[in-house]
Each structure stands twice: as structure tokens, then as C-alpha cells.
């Protein structure tokens, strides 16, 4: 029974994918959208069912289908595992997924290949579920690469624009760099423990036999590289902002709420491994903190509404990694969930705005939308407050927990994290002010058409906004349902923070910081009514920021260009050289034959002479060698 339901949970989106890809065109847009949505809703229902079940029993369900890959000393099963962690992820993947599918029905309605869009979205959900449900690292890897593929397909959804295709390709390849890390991690784990199965692995590690710290650290590092590819951490983060080329629901679903959290999922899954590699944990924490700050600074000056949100996502992911690095897995998970709510809401809100403005994404050409689009405005405001960490919205709780943990372990990281959250507050409200306040700066025609989005678009916004507001309830300090729920997963029990003076102080500092950020934004964009300058006029440090620290250019110069040069060099020179060596043998043979040809001068006398000489030579040899003949 459980197995069948779990398979329904897994395969419903896949069936949706098949239906849409093969029949979608003939079914019409609405039906195709409905199929896509229902498929995910079914998965959501199943996830809910299992969630309630496991919440009561606490027993993970593991499903073994068949042996998949045989390795000499162990078998890799095709199996699934439904435990606390995977169900939590399933809930918000399918939940938010359903909302976004719903949203897409309206958002993509004008696109002629809507059925393809839904097919890809369904496929994505399918792979995401595979990733989350996999009972071993390799099944997880199927999902891991699968979501990368869907991300590629959806970023390049409007394939006629080669820039979008470039972005899609970049995302896929950067992800694959991470994937290689992941694979290497799998190899190391494989030959260290002879298993890839999570349960067995955990048991083996906790039993603590033959643990070579060096190799564990290597495995941790490799896996972290994998995670940083998928979750857009330094140095592999540059694909995520480019990925905004895809349709907005895709950005919301894949590049904010679900796929990019896969790295966090994986590290949380393997927390028992990372606990044994403190050096790697430190690296994770530092990289997370730096990513969060760097991305936030870039976010300050971006003018594309989706780019701002993209950098914000990178920054928030950095915070989650900071939490992971500090060993506070449940806090990272907490932030993943709250972030999924408010970031999905923000993206969908920005989608609503873009929809209203007919695909205008530049904030300099927005403004004053507050009155025209009240629902969008309010929901986005709530989410912005949440992400900025204003009491009592969800972001406050989760971010606060992270900063608190950081403070206890390393004040430097705390400072960096706090700085990042102040910047977050600033750029979010910069976004809000530029978009919704003051006068409209777009064209007259756009102004004429300004309207609130249809209910199909606003409904998901409202739901997500509510969740963004109250999401913090699942893990209130001192009384955390989430911590309790996730407890069986972790090897080390995490001690809850005492809510002492320090903690309240920290909360206050965080809130003040957030308010400060909002205040600066207010001063700059409402009081002084500034509008960001044209691209060419940006100077000084903000130009560096605006150009994202020139990281893309640096990568281009130190990696892509040399490889291409090398490729040309190999193609033009080495290939020719190798070929000419081979030809050299032929030429040598030719030359020898040409010389030898001269012996054949046609004179019979000469031939006879040669014959006589040869005969004599052979006979003399035989005589000299004392052979009897």
C-alpha cells in the first residue's frame, strides 16, 4: 500500500509530463495546464498523507524496487526513502509547486508552447521528488542531474533568443562542475564504506569503525562542491542570476524555492558525515557567509527586478550554508522553508508586475504600481518585510536563529551575516519603492494598460504571503516543532538557545539593522526620489557592483577563453602534427621505394649480375656458417 502510494507520489508528475508532451498540443492550453497542476496536487496530497503518517509514527518508510547498478563489492538499489527530512521537502516542493503551476496557467497563457512548459515543469517536479526521495546517493544523483536538465530546458524555454540559450547552457555546465564534485564524493564514500545507502551509511559511520579523517574530509569537500554548484555558492554562483532568462514561474519554482535548496538538502541528509569533518564545515560556513555578503552587495545596484531577487536568493542561500557550516542543520532547513515561501511570493509578485507591464523588467521604468496592483503590492510587501527580518514574520525567526548561532560560534561570521541582512533589507525596499511608489515611469501605453493581475495569478500570491507571514510558527525559539520533528535525523542533538539577554539583544540588533536598511532605502528613494541612473552613467564602485565584480568576465578570461584557445591549438596544430607523424611513416616508405626503384633500371645484365652476386653471397654465408646443405 505504502509502496503504491509512494509510487503515485513519484510518478504523478511524470505521467503529467508524458501526457503534456505527447498530447498537450491537441488537448488545448487549459486542459494541459490543468493536467500539469493536478499531477502536482496529487503528489502534494500524497506527501501530506505520508507526512501525517510519519508525524505520528516517526517510522521512516523505505521502499526497495530493484537492484540498479552492480558494483563489485556492493549493489546500488533503486529504492526510495520517506523520512522526516524528505517528507518536509516534498511538502513544500509539491505545495509551492502546485501553487506555481496554478499561477503558470494564467501567466503562460499567451505562449504557444504552453503544453511544453507544463511538461517541463512536471518533469522538474518529478526529478525533484526523485532527488528528495532517493534512498541512496545515486538515486539522489538522478534527481540532482534531472533537475539540472529541467532547469536547462526551462531557462532556455524561449529558445529563439541565443542569449537565453547561453544562460541555459551556462547553468547546466556550472551545475555539472558541481556534479563532478558530487560524483567524486560518491566514489570516495563508495570505496570507504561499500555502500551508498543513506541508512546503512549512517549506521556505518555512527558505528565509527575505520574512519579515515582525511578521506572523510575529502568526501565532504567533494560533496560540498556538488552542493555549491546546485545551490549557487561561490565560486559557482554566476549561473543563477543568468538563469532569470527563464519565465518567471520557473525562477520562482526552480531558482528560488526548490532546486537551489538541493545542496542544503544533501548536506543535511549527510549531516553525520559532515559532523566528522570540522575543517570542511568551517569552509562551508565561510563560503556561505562570503557568498551571502557578496551577492547582497551586487543586489544593491541591480535594476532588473528579477536580477535583484536572484542575487537576493544567492545571498539567502549563503546564509543557509552558513548555518550548515555551523552544524545547525535544522536552522538551515527552517530558513529553506521560510525562504521558499517569501522568495516564491516575491518572484511570483515580480512576475505579476512583469505581466502587467508586458515583459518589462527594468525597475527604472516602473513605479507607482501600488494603486494599480494592490494585491500584488501587499503580498510583496509582506514578503519583503519577511525577508528583511521584521518581527514577527517568518524571515525574522529563521534568519535570527542563523545569526544567533553564528554569534555563539564566531563573531566574525555573525558580523558578515548581519551586514548581509541589513543590505537585504535595503535592496528589497529599494525594489519595493522603485516598483510600487512614486509616479509611473514607463510609456504611456503601458500606463494605459496597467491592471491588477487575474485571480489565478493573485491567489498563489496570497497563499504564499500568508505562509511567509506565519511560517515562523513552525520553529519558534524555545518551542520548536521543527527541531523536534527533525531530531531523529541528526547524530548530534542540537542544544536549543537559551533565551537570555544576549539573545534578546541580538534580536534587537537584527531588527534595528533591518529597519536601518529600510530607512536608508526610504531616505534615498522616497525622500530624495532618486531613480537609478542609466547604465552608462554608473561610475566608481557601484559600477563594479553593477557589473557583478566582473566575475563573469574573469571566468571568461581565465577559464573559457583558455579552453577555447587550447581547443583551437589542438585542432589546428596538434592534430596536424600527429597526423603528419603518421603520414611521415608513409612518406618514409614512399621515399625508400623511390630510391629502391632506381635499382630497377631495366638492364638485364645488371639484374643477372645482382643475381649472381646474391647467389654467391648466400652460398658464402652458408659455407662460412659451416652449414651442411
Amino acid at each position: 500500500m505504502d509502496i503504491n502510494l509512494a509510487l503515485v507520489l513519484l510518478l504523478a508528475p511524470f505521467l503529467g509530463f508524458l501526457a503534456n508532451i505527447f498530447l498537450g498540443k491537441s488537448l488545448g492550453k487549459n486542459i494541459s495546464g490543468a493536467i500539469g497542476t493536478i499531477a502536482v496536487v496529487v503528489s502534494f496530497a500524497m506527501s501530506l498523507f505520508f507526512f501525517l503518517q510519519i508525524n505520528q509514527t516517526g517510522q521512516p518508510i523505505s521502499i526497495h524496487l530493484f537492484d540498479w547498478i552492480a558494483i563489485s563489492n556492493f549493489n546500488i538499489e533503486f529504492g526510495f526513502l520517506l523520512d522526516q527530512l524528505s517528507l518536509l521537502w516534498l511538502l513544500f516542493v509539491t505545495g509551492i509547486g502546485s501553487l506555481i503551476h496554478l499561477y503558470s496557467i494564467s501567466y503562460m497563457h499567451d505562449d504557444e508552447k504552453m503544453h511544453k512548459f507544463f511538461a517541463y515543469l512536471n518533469l522538474f517536479v518529478f526529478f525533484m521528488i526523485t532527488l528528495v526521495m532517493g534512498s541512496n546517493l545515486l538515486i539522489m544523483f538522478i534527481g540532482w542531474e534531472g533537475v539540472g536538465l529541467c532547469s536547462y530546458l526551462l531557462i532556455g524555454f524561449w529558445y529563439k533568443n541565443q542569449n537565453y540559450n547561453d544562460a541555459a547552457k551556462k547553468a547546466f555546465i556550472m551545475n555539472r562542475i558541481g556534479d563532478l564534485g558530487f560524483l567524486v564524493g560518491i566514489f570516495i564514500i563508495g570505496f570507504m564504506f561499500n555502500t551508498l545507502d543513506f541508512a546503512t551509511l549512517k549506521a556505518t559511520i555512527l558505528a565509527g569503525n575505520n574512519l579515515d579523517a582525511y578521506w572523510i574530509a575529502a568526501a565532504g569537500l567533494a560533496l560540498f562542491i556538488g552542493a555549491s554548484g546546485k545551490s549557487a555558492q561561490i565560486p559557482l554562483y554566476t549561473w543563477l542570476p543568468d538563469a532569470m532568462a527563464g519565465p518567471t514561474p520557473v525562477s520562482a519554482l526552480i531558482h528560488a524555492a526548490t532546486m537551489v535548496t538541493a545542496g542544503i538538502f544533501m548536506i543535511t541528509r549527510l549531516n553525520f558525515l559532515f559532523d566528522l569533518a570540522p575543517a570542511i564545515q568551517d569552509i562551508i560556513a565561510v563560503i556561505g557567509a562570503i557568498t551571502s555578503l557578496v551577492a547582497a552587495t551586487i543586489g544593491l545596484v541591480q535594476n532588473d527586478i528579477k536580477k535583484v531577487l536572484a542575487y537576493s536568493t544567492v545571498s539567502q542561500l549563503g546564509l543557509m550554508f552558513l548555518a550548515l557550516g555551523l552544524g545547525a542543520y535544522e536552522i538551515a532547513v527552517f530558513h529553506v522553508i521560510t525562504h521558499a515561501f517569501f522568495k516564491a511570493c516575491l518572484f511570483l509578485g515580480s512576475g505579476s508586475v512583469i505581466h502587467a507591464l508586458h515583459h518589462e523588467q527594468d525597475m527604472r521604468k516602473m513605479g507607482g504600481l501600488r494603486k494599480a496592483m494592490p494585491i500584488t503590492f501587499i503580498t510583496m510587501l509582506i514578503s519583503s518585510l519577511a525577508i528583511s527580518g521584521i518581527f514577527p514574520l517568518s524571515g525574522f525567526w529563521s534568519k535570527d536563529e542563523i545569526l544567533m548561532t553564528a554569534y555563539h560560534q564566531s563573531p566574525v561570521l555573525w558580523v558578515i551575516g548581519s551586514l548581509a541582512s541589513i543590505l537585504t533589507a535595503f535592496y528589497m525596499f529599494r525594489l519595493m519603492y522603485l516598483t510600487f511608489f512614486k509616479e509611473f515611469r514607463g510609456s504611456e501605453e503601458q500606463k494605459h494598460h496597467l491592471h491588477e493581475s487575474p485571480a489565478l495569478l493573485t491567489f498563489p500570491l496570497i497563499v504564499l504571503a500568508i505562509l511567509a507571514a506565519i511560517g515562523g510558527l513552525i520553529s519558534l525559539p524555545g518551542h520548536s516543532w521543527l527541531n523536534h520533528y527533525l531530531e531523529p535525523l541528526f547524530s548530534k542533538a542540537h542544544e536549543a538557545h537559551h533565551l537570555g539577554t544576549t539573545e534578546y539583544m541580538l534580536m534587537a540588533i537584527a531588527t534595528v539593522g533591518a529597519l536601518l536598511g529600510i530607512g536608508i532605502a526610504y531616505a534615498k528613494y522616497i525622500k530624495q526620489a532618486q531613480v537609478p541612473e542609466e547604465d552608462e552613467k554608473i561610475t566608481g564602485f557601484s559600477k563594479v557592483l553593477y557589473n557583478k565584480y566582473y566575475v563573469d568576465e574573469v571566468y571568461e578570461a581565465i577559464i573559457v577563453k583558455p579552453i577555447n584557445l587550447l581547443s583551437r591549438f589542438f585542432r589546428d596544430y596538434i592534430e596536424t602534427a600527429l597526423a603528419s607523424i603518421v603520414f611521415g611513416f608513409g612518406k618514409a616508405a614512399n621515399e625508400l621505394s623511390f630510391q629502391g626503384k632506381k635499382l630497377q633500371n631495366g638492364s638485364i645484365g645488371f639484374y643477372l649480375f645482382a643475381f649472381v652476386i646474391g647467389f654467391c653471397a648466400i652460398v658464402s654465408y652458408l659455407i662460412l656458417a659451416q652449414k651442411k646443405f
Binding site: G605, F609, V612, I613, C616, S620
Partner: protein, 173 residues
């Protein structure tokens, strides 16, 4: 020194000398005549071995048939002049060198093999009369019957070939 040995020495001297002259005479007709002498002396050797039949056949075939053929050819081509250009010196040197080489090598072979020269005891058995030869040649069971037949075919073919080759081509070119 017995009579036989003396006869042998004379015959051998004639053979070698005439062979030598065959090669060194400028006029081809003279060469042919020296060659005839050479063949006759070889027939003499055969007679010395008491192989009369062979000697006769030899004279008929070589001195009779082959030499006549050659002479006819010479006359046909009108080559009885001494118009042969000498080969370049290097070729002649080559010829001399190979002559010396091959003679030394062949002699070396015979010395090397160290033939056991025992007494030539004769059983008095007849082994080379025409009768015996005929038996060996034409015996059906362990003779050379088949080879003999083939030899006749060979001659036939050679004859046809010679006729074909020397026939004037009418429609060539």
C-alpha cells in the same frame, strides 16, 4: 697416365677452349661454329662414358637441331657482321668479377662437401644400354612415362608458340 685420361684431357681442353671462343669471337657465325665444336666434344665425353645413345641424341639435338636454328636466325637477321658495340667497361668488369666469384664459390662448394671418392666398383650390370634406358624412360609403373608424355606436349606447345611468335603480325598498330 692412361689413354683414357689423355683422351679426357684433350676433350676437356677442346670443350673449354671452344666454349671460350664461342663467347669471345666477335662474329656470331664463328661463335656458332665454335659452339658446334664444343657440343661435339661434350658428345665425346658421353662416348667416353660409354653412353652411346645419349651421345647420338646429343649430336642430333644440339649440333643438328639447335645449332641449325641459331644459324638460321642469324642469317635471317643478317647479323654475321662484327658490329656489336662493346659493353661499357664497368659491365665488363662486372662480368669478370662475377665469373671469378661464381667459379670460386662453386669450387668452394665442392671442396666443402668433401665428396667421398671411393673405388668405383662396377658390378658389370648393364645400366645404360638403349634397352635399359627405354625401360627406365617408358616403364609404366616406376618409369618416367608421364614426364615423357609431358615433354612431348611441351615440345608441341613450344612449336606452336614459336610459330605464333615469329609469324608476322598483320593487324598490329
Amino acid at each position: 697416365m692412361s689413354t683414357v685420361l689423355i683422351i679426357f684431357c684433350i676433350l676437356a681442353a677442346v670443350t673449354l677452349a671452344s666454349a671460350f671462343m664461342t663467347i669471345f669471337t666477335k662474329n656470331p657465325i664463328h661463335s656458332a661454329i665454335y659452339l658446334v665444336i664444343c657440343f661435339f666434344s661434350i658428345a665425346g665425353h658421353y662416348l667416353l662414358f660409354n653412353a652411346q645413345f645419349l651421345a647420338l641424341v646429343h649430336i642430333i639435338v644440339y649440333s643438328g637441331a639447335i645449332m641449325i636454328l641459331m644459324l638460321f636466325t642469324l642469317m635471317l637477321m643478317n647479323l654475321n657482321k662484327e658490329d656489336e658495340v662493346h659493353k661499357p667497361r664497368i659491365t665488363r668488369l662486372g662480368a669478370v668479377v662475377s665469373f671469378l666469384l661464381i667459379i670460386s664459390v662453386l669450387i668452394a662448394i665442392f671442396i666443402q662437401t668433401k665428396p667421398i671418392v671411393g673405388p668405383y666398383d662396377t658390378t658389370g650390370e648393364d645400366y645404360q644400354s638403349i634397352k635399359v634406358l627405354g625401360q627406365v624412360l617408358l616403364d609404366q609403373d616406376n618409369g618416367f612415362m608421364v614426364a615423357f608424355e609431358f615433354a612431348s606436349i611441351l615440345l608441341l606447345v613450344a612449336m606452336i608458340g614459336a610459330v605464333l611468335l615469329s609469324k608476322k603480325e598483320k593487324s598490329s598498330k
